[in-house]
C-alpha cells in the first residue's frame, strides 16, 4: 500500500496550461461548492420571504391596527453601513489579488468595524422598538420583524466569526496572498449576507 503513496499526480496535466493548474482547479471546485451552498441558503431565505408575503397578504391592514410603526432612519443607515462593509472587503480583496497584501489588514479591519457597528445599531433598533411596545409574542407584525431580522443577525455574527478567523493571521502580519481563495470564499458569504439584508430592509422596513 505504502508503495503507492506519493507517486505524484496520476493524471498528467496538459502542457499548455499556465503554472500550478492543480491549485487553480481546486479553487474552481471550492468556488463552485460555495456557490451551490449560497444557492441553498438563498432558497432558505426565499422560504422566509415567502412566509412574510403570505402573512402580509392575509392581514387586512399592514401594519395591523394598533401596532407601532417601525423606524426607518436607523435601518437605512444600517443598510449603508453594511453596503460599505461589502465595499471595503471588495477593496481589500482586490489588494490581496493584485499583490499589495500589506493594504489588506486595514480594509479587513474596516469591514469588521462596520459589521460590528451594524450589529450594535441593530440591537439598538430592537431595544427601542421593544420599548415602543412591539414584541415577538404580541402579534404577527412583531413575529415577522423580530424573526426575520434576528435570523439575519445570526448570519452577520457567523460572517464576523469567519472574518475574525481571517483577521487573526492577517493582523499578526502574515501575508495572506497564498490564502487568497479562502478569503474570497469568505467574502462571498459576507456579500450574500449583505444582499439578503438589502432585500430585508426593503420588504420589512420600507414596504
Amino acid at each position: 500500500m505504502n508503495a503507492l503513496v506519493d507517486t505524484g499526480p496520476a493524471v498528467v496535466m496538459p502542457s499548455h496550461l499556465p503554472a500550478a493548474p492543480h491549485a487553480r482547479k481546486r479553487e474552481r471546485s471550492a468556488y463552485l461548492g460555495m456557490a451551490i451552498f449560497l444557492g441553498t441558503w438563498t432558497m432558505m431565505f426565499a422560504g422566509l420571504f415567502f412566509s412574510y408575503a403570505v402573512v402580509r397578504n392575509d392581514a387586512p391592514t399592514w401594519p395591523p391596527i394598533g401596532e407601532p410603526r417601525l423606524p426607518i432612519g436607523l435601518p437605512a443607515l444600517n443598510t449603508l453601513l453594511l453596503l460599505g462593509s461589502s465595499a471595503t472587503l471588495a477593496k481589500g480583496l482586490k489588494r490581496l489579488r493584485t499583490g499589495r497584501a500589506t493594504a489588506f489588514p486595514g480594509w479587513l479591519a474596516a469591514t469588521i468595524v462596520l459589521g460590528v457597528l451594524f450589529l450594535a445599531l441593530q440591537i439598538h433598533v430592537w431595544l427601542s422598538v421593544s420599548e415602543g411596545g412591539l414584541h415577538a409574542s404580541t402579534g404577527i407584525y412583531g413575529s415577522v420583524f423580530y424573526g426575520l431580522t434576528c435570523f439575519h443577525a445570526l448570519h452577520v455574527i457567523a460572517g464576523l466569526v469567519i472574518l475574525g478567523a481571517i483577521a487573526v493571521p492577517a493582523f499578526a502580519g502574515r501575508n495572506l496572498t497564498a490564502r487568497y481563495n479562502l478569503v474570497r470564499l469568505s467574502a462571498m458569504f459576507w456579500h450574500f449576507v449583505d444582499v439578503v439584508w438589502v432585500v430585508m430592509f426593503v420588504t420589512v422596513y420600507v414596504l
Binding site: R26, G33, F37, V55, Y141
Partner: protein, 598 residues
C-alpha cells in the same frame, strides 16, 4: 485491471481535477470512525440507516398490533415500552408512534441508506474518482446525521414524550397549544440538523459529479445510478432549505413565542397555519422524488445489467428523470386540495400533477423495452429491481386518483393515501435499497451474500409488502381515515376490521422476513464467500478494481471510452468472447480512444 497508459497520457481534457493519492490512515479511529474515505462513510450511513429501519419497522409493528388487537398488550416489548399503560399502546403513544415511524423512515432510514450510503459509495467509484471532492464536509455530513439521531432518540425520554403531530407536523397540532412539551421542539431541531446533513451531502455530490468525472466520462456516459443520485442532490440542495425555513419559523413559534403558524383569532393581524402547509409541501413534494430518484437510477442500471442489453433510451431516461425533477417543484398544491384553495389553482396543480405521468411512463417503458428480448438473468438484485418496477407501477397508478380533485376530496386522509405513498416511496424504495445492497455488497465488503437466503428474503418481502399496502388501498376506499387509534369503535368501519387484521398479519410476516436479511448481511460480512473483482460481469468502472477497492480507489484514473451498458456488442463478443465490456476499454474496431474523448 485495465488501464490505457498511452491514451491516458496524451489525453487533453483540461477540466479534470488532479487527485492526489493520500496515505491510508492506520489508527482505528481515523480508519473506521472519523474517516473521510467515502467508502467508509457510505458504510457508516448504511449501518445508521439499517438501525433506524429496524426501529421504524418495530414501530410499524406496534401500530399494526394496535389496529388488529385494540386494547391488548403488545407482546414481549409491550411491558418495557408502554409500562405505564400495562403494555397496551395508549392513544398518546399511538400518536407518537405513527409520527415517529414516518419521520424515522423518511429522514433517518431511506435518506441515509440510499442517499448517504449509496450516494457516497457509488458516485466517486462510478465516475472514476478517488474520493468525494470535499471529504471533510462528507464526514461532517455523517456526523450531523448522528447528532440529529441523538436528538431524536433523546426526544423519546423527555417529559410528555416524543413528537406527536404526524410526520407532516402540521399546525395547529404542532404548535405549543396542540403538542406541548420538549419532544416536539426536539423533533424540529432534529429534522433541521438532518436537513443540514443532507444539504452538506448535496453540495458535495453536485460538485463532485461536475468536477471529478474521469477523463472521457461525459454526462451521457455516466451510469444512470449517478444521474439519479445527482438529480436527487440537486433537488435536495434546492428544497431541503425550504423545509429549513419552515422549521426555523416553527422553532421560533415554539420557543420565542412568535405567531407565524398560530391561527388568527388570538393574534393581532393573524398568523397562518396554512402557511406551514405551503412551505412543507414546497419541500415535501420534491422530497418524495428525492426518495425515489436514487432507486430509479439504480434499477435503470440494474435492468440493463441483468437483461444483458444496453439500456433502452438512455438519454430519454435521463430526460425523463430531469423532467420529473422540474415538475416535482410545480405540483405541491395537490397535497392541499382540501384546504379550500381556489378551484382554478387546484385545477392547475391537478393538470401539472397528471403531466408527471408522462416522464414516469417514459422511464417505465424504457425499463420494459430494455428487458424485451434480453437474455435476462435473475439473481437477487435483479429480482428486487423487478419488484421495484412492479410496486412503483402499482403505486403510480393509484396516484392518479389522488391527483384528480374530485376523487381526492373523498380519498384525502384515508388509508388509500397511506397505501399509495407506501407503495411508491416505502415499498419501492425499500426494495430498491435491497437491490442496491445485494448488488454492491461484493464491492463494499469483498464477499458475496448467500443467494438462496437472498431469494427467500425477496419473496418474504415482495409478497407481504404488496398484500399489506393493497389491502390498505381497499380499506381506504371503504372510507377508513388514517391515524385512527381504534377504528373498531366506529360502526362504519367494523366491517373493515377483518381486513385490518389481515394487513397486520402480513405486516408481521414482512417484519420477520427481514430476519433472513439481517442474518445474511452480518454473516456474509465476516464469513461470506470471497467475491471476485466483477461477479456480475458488468462494465461500470467500480467493477474494474479489486473488491473491496483500495483506499484511493484507482491506482490510475481511468480513461472512459465506452458507455455504461455495452452488453452483447457483436464486436466485443467476437474479439473477447464476453458479452460485456468495461467502460475504460475501447470497443474493438472503434476509433482510438483519444479521438473519441476529444
Amino acid at each position: 485491471m485495465s488501464t490505457h497508459d498511452e491514451a491516458h497520457d496524451s489525453h487533453g481534457g483540461g477540466e479534470h481535477e488532479e487527485q492526489h493519492i493520500h496515505p491510508e490512515p492506520t489508527s482505528f479511529i481515523r480508519k473506521y470512525v472519523f474517516s473521510t474515505d467515502h467508502k467508509v462513510i457510505a458504510k457508516q450511513f448504511i449501518w445508521l440507516g439499517l438501525c433506524w429501519l429496524a426501529i421504524g419497522g418495530t414501530m410499524a409493528m406496534m401500530i399494526r398490533w394496535q389496529l388488529a388487537n385494540p386494547g391488548k398488550p403488545f407482546p414481549i416489548l409491550g411491558g418495557l415500552v408502554f409500562g405505564a399503560s400495562g403494555g397496551v399502546v395508549s392513544p398518546a403513544s399511538y400518536t407518537s408512534l405513527f409520527t415517529m415511524h414516518g419521520t424515522i423512515m423518511i429522514f433517518f432510514a431511506i435518506t441515509p441508506i440510499m442517499i448517504g450510503g449509496f450516494g457516497n459509495f457509488c458516485i466517486p467509484l462510478m465516475i472514476g474518482a478517488r474520493d468525494m471532492i470535499f471529504p471533510l464536509l462528507n464526514a461532517l455530513s455523517f456526523w450531523f446525521m448522528v447528532l440529529s439521531s441523538c436528538v431524536l432518540v433523546g426526544s423519546f425520554f423527555v417529559p410528555m414524550g416524543a413528537a406527536a403531530a404526524g410526520w407532516t407536523n402540521y399546525p395547529p397540532l404542532s404548535v405549543n397549544i396542540g403538542t406541548p412539551g420538549l419532544g416536539q421542539t426536539m423533533w424540529v431541531l432534529g429534522i433541521f440538523l438532518a436537513g443540514t446533513s443532507t444539504i452538506m451531502g448535496a453540495i458535495n455530490y453536485i460538485t463532485t459529479v461536475i468536477r471529478l468525472r474521469a477523463p472521457g466520462m461525459g454526462y451521457f456516459k455516466m451510469p444512470l445510478t449517478v444521474w439519479g443520485l445527482w438529480l436527487t442532490a440537486i433537488l435536495n440542495a434546492l428544497f431541503v432549505p425550504v423545509l429549513g425555513s419552515a422549521l426555523i419559523l416553527q422553532f421560533m413559534d415554539r420557543v420565542l413565542g412568535t405567531h407565524f403558524f398560530v391561527a388568527g383569532a388570538f393574534v393581532k393581524g393573524g398568523g397562518d397555519p396554512l402557511l406551514y402547509q405551503h412551505l412543507f409541501w414546497i419541500f415535501g413534494h420534491p422530497e418524495v422524488y428525492i426518495l425515489i430518484l436514487p432507486a430509479w437510477g439504480v434499477i435503470s442500471d440494474l435492468i440493463p445489467f441483468f437483461a444483458r442489453k444496453p439500456a433502452y433510451g438512455y438519454k430519454l431516461s435521463v430526460f425523463a428523470m430531469s423532467m420529473v425533477c422540474v415538475l416535482s417543484a410545480l405540483v405541491y398544491g395537490h397535497h392541499m386540495f382540501t384546504t379550500s384553495m381556489s378551484p382554478l389553482l387546484g385545477q392547475g396543480f391537478m393538470v401539472l400533477t397528471m403531466i408527471i405521468s408522462v416522464p414516469a411512463e417514459i422511464l417505465f417503458l424504457n425499463w420494459l423495452h430494455t428487458m424485451w428480448h434480453g437474455a435476462i438473468r435473475t439473481p437477487p438484485p435483479m429480482m428486487f429491481a423487478l419488484g421495484v418496477v412492479f410496486v412503483f407501477g402499482l403505486g403510480g397508478l393509484t396516484g392518479l386518483y389522488l391527483a384528480t380533485i374530485s376523487t381526492d376530496l373523498y380519498l384525502h386522509d384515508t388509508y388509500f393515501v397511506v397505501g399509495h405513498f407506501h407503495l411508491t416511496m416505502a415499498a419501492a424504495v425499500f426494495l430498491g435499497s435491497f437491490a442496491s445492497i445485494y448488488f454492491w455488497f461484493p464491492k463494499m465488503f469483498g464477499r458475496q451474500m448467500n443467494m438462496g437466503l437472498a431469494k427467500l428474503h425477496f419473496w418474504l418481502s415482495f409478497i407481504p409488502i404488496n398484500v399489506v399496502f393493497c389491502i390498505m388501498l381497499a380499506v381506504g376506499l371503504g372510507g377508513m381515515q388514517r391515524r385512527l387509534y381504534d377504528p373498531s369503535v366506529y360502526t362504519t368501519f367494523q366491517s373493515l376490521q377483518s381486513l385490518n387484521v389481515w394487513i397486520s398479519r402480513f405486516a408481521y410476516l414482512l417484519f420477520f422476513g427481514q430476519v433472513f436479511f439481517v442474518y445474511n448481511f452480518v454473516y456474509s460480512i465476516f464469513r461470506g464467500e470471497k467475491a471476485s473483482e466483477n461477479p456480475w460481469e458488468v462494465g461500470t468502472l467500480e467493477w474494474t478494481i479489486p473488491s473491496p477497492p483500495p483506499h484511493h480507489n484507482y491506482d490510475k484514473i481511468p480513461l472512459v471510452v465506452t458507455g455504461p451498458h455495452e452488453f452483447n456488442n457483436p464486436a466485443v463478443l467476437k474479439a473477447t468472447g464476453r458479452d460485456w465490456i468495461a467502460q475504460d476499454v475501447p470497443i474493438p474496431g472503434d476509433l482510438p480512444a483519444e479521438s473519441q474523448s476529444a
